[in-house]
């Protein structure tokens, strides 16, 4: 591959706002090859140096050829919505080798099953994105990227930090070398499942946070939501086999605070607009992209036979899918019987 006289070349799959932000961060340390399916987007990147209102570094080149991407980059960052993740992997897989390293930045869960209220899901029917990579490709050295990384703030070059999680230290190290800069710190963790779940599960708490704002509630209520929401996420994660460790870090509490306080978060906006009286279809149409939190809610609900306590997910599910009046639901949650504080830490 590259001789060390030349710059490293990193691959990115996906041209959403987060993908673009990551490509620009990578470009500070090397060249970037960015996969996009659309010819228009290729032109925007290669010729105009702009995509979706964001400026693209001159070190970013676009391609629509997976083969080229796999041949030129041993380190690839797939950052596509969870609904498209499997298709992307199936197209990319023929070109990947065990020498590749994949660090994904997709906060979502996948199930091949149709989610229904009647049939519960089994644990082995729900996959994180790194699990999908291991099932659908021959790549073993897998990691994920998670943390409070609102794409719009990254594109404004504001300081931020992220976590790369992997069972392999070398994955963390190459990821750090590729991404770190003066404005972007990269922490490492071996708690891959915990970090992935923290990134995914927090999404529905953000929906609730948006609702609080919509109902006119203030910061006391939000702080209550965040701390009790965090406890709930930890119960779920433990039931799914992760430890609580990741939840106390940047990808857990860090991300939760950012998404619950930001009107830039899609999930937050879903909650806000629901509180303003819009229905789900209207909201999805207006936001344009999928809010992962809605799907996460369905999966968490369908997994409930694992016996974790998830009152927040339950009430939110009733609000979003079963027309429970928002105020009634949220007030119920706010009065939910008090237990010991931070009881999840043993």
């Amino acid at each position: 591959m590259d001789s060390k006289d030349t710059l490293n070349k990193y691959g990115v799959v996906g041209s959403g706002s987060f993908g673009i932000a990551i490509a620009n961060l990578l470009a500070e340390n090397g060249e970037v090859l960015m996969y996009t399916r659309s010819e228009d987007q290729m032109t925007s990147i290669n010729a105009d140096r702009h995509l979706k209102g964001q400026e693209m570094s001159t070190r970013v080149t676009a391609t629509n050829d997976y083969k080229q991407l796999a041949e030129e980059c041993y380190l690839i960052f797939p950052i596509v919505p969870s609904d498209n993740f499997v298709d992307m992997l199936e197209e990319l897989a023929p070109y990947l080798k065990p020498s590749h390293i994949l660090i994904h930045g997709t906060k979502g869960l996948y199930t091949p099953k149709k989610i229904s209220n009647e049939i519960p899901l089994r644990k082995d029917e729900v996959f994180t994105m790194s699990e999908l990579i291991k099932i659908k490709t021959g790549v073993v050295r897998v990691g994920c990227l998670a943390g409070p990384n609102l794409a719009s703030e990254l594109s404004e070059h504001q300081p931020a930090a992220t976590v790369i999680a992997s069972r392999f230290n070398e994955v963390i190290e190459v990821g750090q070398q590729a991404l770190k800069s003066n404005r972007f710190q990269v922490y490492g963790s071996n708690e891959l499942l915990g970090v992935e779940l923290a990134g995914v599960l927090k999404n529905y708490v953000a929906i609730a946070s948006g609702m609080l704002t919509g109902l006119g509630y203030g910061e006391n209520a939000r702080a209550l939501l965040i701390t009790r929401g965090m406890a709930e996420l930890i119960y779920i994660a433990k039931a799914l086999g992760a430890s609580e460790k990741a939840f106390l870090g940047l990808a857990g509490i860090g991300d939760l605070i950012a998404t619950c306080n930001s009107s830039k978060s899609r999930n937050y906006r879903v909650g806000l607009q629901l509180a303003e009286g819009k229905n789900l279809e209207e909201i999805i149409a207006s936001i344009g992209e999928v809010a992962e939190g809605v799907k996460t809610l369905q999966i968490v609900k369908a997994l409930q036979k694992y016996g974790y306590r998830a009152p927040l997910a339950e009430i939110l599910y009733k609000i979003v899918f079963e027309d429970l009046p928002i105020k009634k639901g949220i007030d119920f949650l706010m009065r939910f019987s008090a237990d010991k504080d931070a009881e999840y830490i043993v």
Binding site: M1, D2, N8, Y74, L75, A93, P94, K97, P98, S99, I101, K134, I135, K136, T137, G138, V140, R141, R167, F168, N169, E170, V174
Partner: protein
């Protein structure tokens, strides 16, 4: 690839000339082999110590532990010269204590260190002698055959009959031709489950039956005190490991012994569970230390040789099954006592003399089938399947190059932490293969169903309370038993169809026969029977804990959920 190949006769050796066997070549190069092993161990450890003073305190700590072992846990196998050796080491350590110049002190310490490791290595090293091997492989099967013809009530045949051959009693299944072919292409590592002390002789004999060359394998030094077993192990070329020794240099030396042997192409065998399964359940967690030597051997080969000459390493899980495990009672008691704790368990067994061991072998093989040995399909060191020619095939069916797992940005690189993760993955794959190659015997099925039915009757009790229930309060209605047995049997047949386990042919037959055969053979020689029919034709137990042990063989498939 025929996963259900059955072996009914002795196969021709893959390499007819013993002097061409890798294990023989290793013994011919013993000096350089041991030197490489010792040097590798010293280099690795000195690097990890960093500071010179750490070595000096390590030496003192080894001495302390060895002296302790000799006084507190003496074994018959301990050589009388050991005390002399350690006294000499003590004298030398005291001398270096007095040296003030750092460099000189370090130099002396290193000398002592090397002499300790050299001493260890001489104790460990296997002595492979082709002549003795030839005798062992002829005499022992002969003895086995004689013993087998003497089933209960058939005593005279023990001496005079010769109708049955050993192959009638060894039920060997799995992709044997595949494994044989791989032994020509690269280095084969056999990793069996471990339930009984007779596993070692059994697998040794099986390897010879299927025509594989002799293998390097470690056996607990205590086994070398049992007369006939000692001879057998020695003659087959087993190396010795002493489980009382816990000091890091000794453990590292053992690991490197295995790594260097594998690297030099010696086919190897080790029990990845470490010791015998106490619970009777198929090993769920493996000891990754020794398993890691397979991975390191492979990586070293790739680093040191051109791609086309670097030998590939193949891992073959094997499941051993018996109707009867003589140590069942002491194993399950240890399991219950030590549950959840990593503790040293004294190697004290129900049999420790040649006579008792022979009796045990006799008892096991007079059952029918005597022993079931199920080979799983071979893998590479990161857990990929390999085809007949030894090419790695990954989880999505791509042919992959093993080297690619060890490269970063196109460059082969050593990374211990990466090795550990790969070894963990390999361990998980071996456990999966143990479960899918496990062959269900009639006795497993009846004990599983009976235990679960009894436990359901005492739902409120936890396991430990339940196991103390007086056995005369327990009786299973035979008609209920037939119904539940049929339910579980159907589930097992479904799992079999999905390739998730194997079944003995008898399991496919009539339920009445399964029950009759299972009850007759289950732990038949225990003083208290795990299961027996009473005068009403119902089923009772005389030893719930031993029943629990045999029942555990079918844990890991979710079958117990049926009884919830």
């Amino acid at each position: 690839m025929d996963e259900h190949q059955k072996i009914n006769n002795k196969l021709d050796p893959v390499i007819p000339e013993i002097t061409e066997w890798p294990i023989y070549k290793l013994s011919q190069d013993q000096e350089s082999f041991l030197d490489e092993t010792i040097t590798k161990t010293i280099d690795g450890l000195l690097e990890s110590y960093g500071d010179a003073s750490v070595l000096h305190s390590e030496l003192k700590s080894i001495l302390y532990q060895e002296k302790n072992r000799l006084t507190k846990e003496p074994w018959k196998s301990d050589s009388p010269e050991e005390r002399i050796f350690w006294s000499e080491i003590k004298r030398q350590i005291l001398l270096t204590d007095k040296i003030e110049e750092e460099k000189k002190k370090y130099k002396e310490d290193k000398k002592i260190f090397r002499s300790i490791l050299t001493y260890y290595s001489k104790e460990i090293v296997a002595n492979f002698d082709p002549k003795k091997y030839k005798v062992a492989r002829k005499v022992l099967p002969f003895l086995f055959s004689r013993l087998m013809n003497a089933s209960p009530g058939n005593k005279l045949k023990f001496l005079f009959g010769n109708k049955k051959t050993i192959y009638d009693k060894f039920n060997i299944t799995g992709p044997i031709d595949h494994v044989r072919n791989l032994s020509k292409k690269g280095t084969v590592i056999i990793v069996p489950t471990h339930f009984s002390n007779i596993d070692s002789p059994t697998i040794g004999l099986v390897i010879d039956i299927i025509g594989l060359p002799g293998m390097t394998y470690g056996a607990g030094i205590n086994l070398f005190t049992i007369g006939i077993l000692s001879r057998w192990l020695n003659d087959l070329g087993a190396y010795k490991l002493d489980r009382r020794r816990k000091n890091k240099p000794y453990l590292e030396l053992l690991k490197n012994y295995s790594t260097v042997a594998i690297k030099r192409g010696a086919h190897s065998l080790f029990f990845p569970g470490g010791t015998r399964s106490r619970s009777g359940q198929i090993e769920k967690k493996l000891k990754l230390g020794l398993l890691g030597t397979a991975l390191e051997g492979q990586r070293q080969n790739l680093l040191n040789f051109q791609e086309d000459t670097a030998k590939k390493i193949f891992v073959v899980p094997v499941v051993l099954n018996y109707h009867f495990v003589m140590e069942a009672s002491s194993l399950i008691n240890q399991h219950l006592a030590y549950e959840g704790k990593e503790q040293f368990i004294p190697e004290k067994d129900d049999f420790s003399t040649s006579y008792k061991l022979l009796k045990l072998i006799f008892k096991v093989i007079t059952a029918n089938p005597g022993m079931t040995i199920s080979f799983a399909s071979p893998m590479d060191v990161v857990g990929n399947e390999v085809d007949f020619e030894g090419n790695s095939i990954n989880n999505i069916g791509q042919s992959v190059n093993i080297k690619d797992y060890f490269t970063l940005d196109g460059v082969m690189k050593e990374d211990k932490q990466r090795d550990q993760v790969y070894t963990g993955i390999l361990g998980e794959r071996i456990v999966e293969k143990f479960l899918s190659a496990n062959t269900v015997l009639s006795s497993h099925l009846v004990s599983f169903v009976a235990f679960e039915m009894i436990q359901r009757e005492f739902k409120g009790l936890d396991l430990y309370q339940f196991l103390r229930v007086p056995v005369d309060e327990i009786e299973i209605d035979i008609e209920d038993f037939k119904v539940e047995l049929n339910n579980i049997k159907e589930k097992i047949i479904d799992l079999y169809a999905e390739g998730k386990l194997r079944v003995h042919d008898r399991i496919k037959g009539e339920n009445e026969e399964i029950i009759k055969h299972g009850l007759k053979n289950l732990g038949v020689y225990h003083p208290s029977m795990p299961l027996v029919k009473n005068s009403n034709g119902n089923i009772i137990t005389q030893d719930l804990k031993v029943l629990y042990f045999y029942h555990n063989r079918l844990m890991g498939y979710g079958l117990e959920r049926h009884f919830e």
